[in-house]
Amino acid sequence: APKGVWCPACGLAALAPATQRDVLIALAKQSILSKLHLPDRPNITKATSRGALLTALRRMRAQHMDTAVSPGMTRDNSVPHLRPGLGLQEYEILSFAESGSSTSHSVRLHFLFTQELSGSTEILQATLHLFWAVPSPRTRPVTVRLLQPDTTGLNMTVASETQMEVQRAGWATLDVGQAVQNLIGQGSQRLTVELEVAEDWESPFLAGHSDSHWPFVAAQARARTPHRVQRR
């Protein structure tokens, strides 16, 4: 810094502007990564298609509108009001399916949840969104199984099984909140969903799901972040 220029706050020699900028940018990066509990910036291996992202965000917004607290309804005061600085950080997560094994009448989908959601995370809600592509308007029974690794991690056990009736093409939802909570509680990150129809039915899943019909799980989580209590 020019001779005799000093930092007004601490009296030390002021940093040269370029150095100060580098220091501040490094500080900004470190601050954001630490608040997101990320050791380093993520390397994106598969960016989500725009179509799938827009569809998912639209469906989440529609879901929020449906469950929004209308004036006549009581607000759940048992949930501590989330004021900044209260040490609770909420996340909304969109996890898009990765294709697993499949047969002519069944398919497996994998959903990976972020490693940052550790045991101290509470899943407020998690909904599986599936798009049925049904060639002809007939009712089809579909079995939806939620699988998770057993304690050895080598085999998959059925966490829950649900029968769904598919009448026509379109979106269907299934609550998977408890399954995701159990997964995270066990330190696992992968939820496997198996969809199966009876042998003689043609499969109502799009073999090559189009982008904007890709299955996804929309989850809301709340992590207790260690927070300094400022005494005033």
Partner: protein, 114 residues
């Protein structure tokens, strides 16, 4: 609070914008385009202590005179954030999930002397 301008030495808020494209983070942070990492800097001599900025009311002005006349306890105070707001991020996590979160108290809106 006040924003730093010119060569003011008094406690004020310095604006500093980090453009995510400039630091190569625009591929994993979908929104926003950058982070206003404003910060507080400047002097807080005794007679400035305890006011949120320089917008002093009459009461504060009197208080300042009292403080300034008792400069024996020559204790400066600190220039700190007095108003902050969350930083909302929409980003890809390490499993390429898309996450939206609000990080509390990340953006400084105003500074003042303790």
């Amino acid at each position: 609070g006040i924003d730093c301008s010119g060569d003011s030495q008094m406690c004020c808020r310095k604006e500093f914008f980090v453009d995510f494209k400039e630091i190569g983070w625009e591929d994993w942070i979908i929104q926003p385009e950058g982070y206003h990492m404003n910060y507080c800097a400047g002097l807080c001599p005794l007679h400035m202590a305890g006011i949120p900025g320089l917008a002093a009311s009459f009461h504060t002005a009197v208080l300042n005179l009292i403080k300034a006349n008792h400069a024996d306890a020559a204790m400066d105070s600190c220039c700190v954030p007095t108003q902050r707001r969350p930083l909302s991020l929409l980003y890809y996590d390490r499993e390429s999930n898309i996450v939206k979160t609000d990080i509390p108290d990340m953006i400084v809106d105003a500074c003042g002397c303790t």
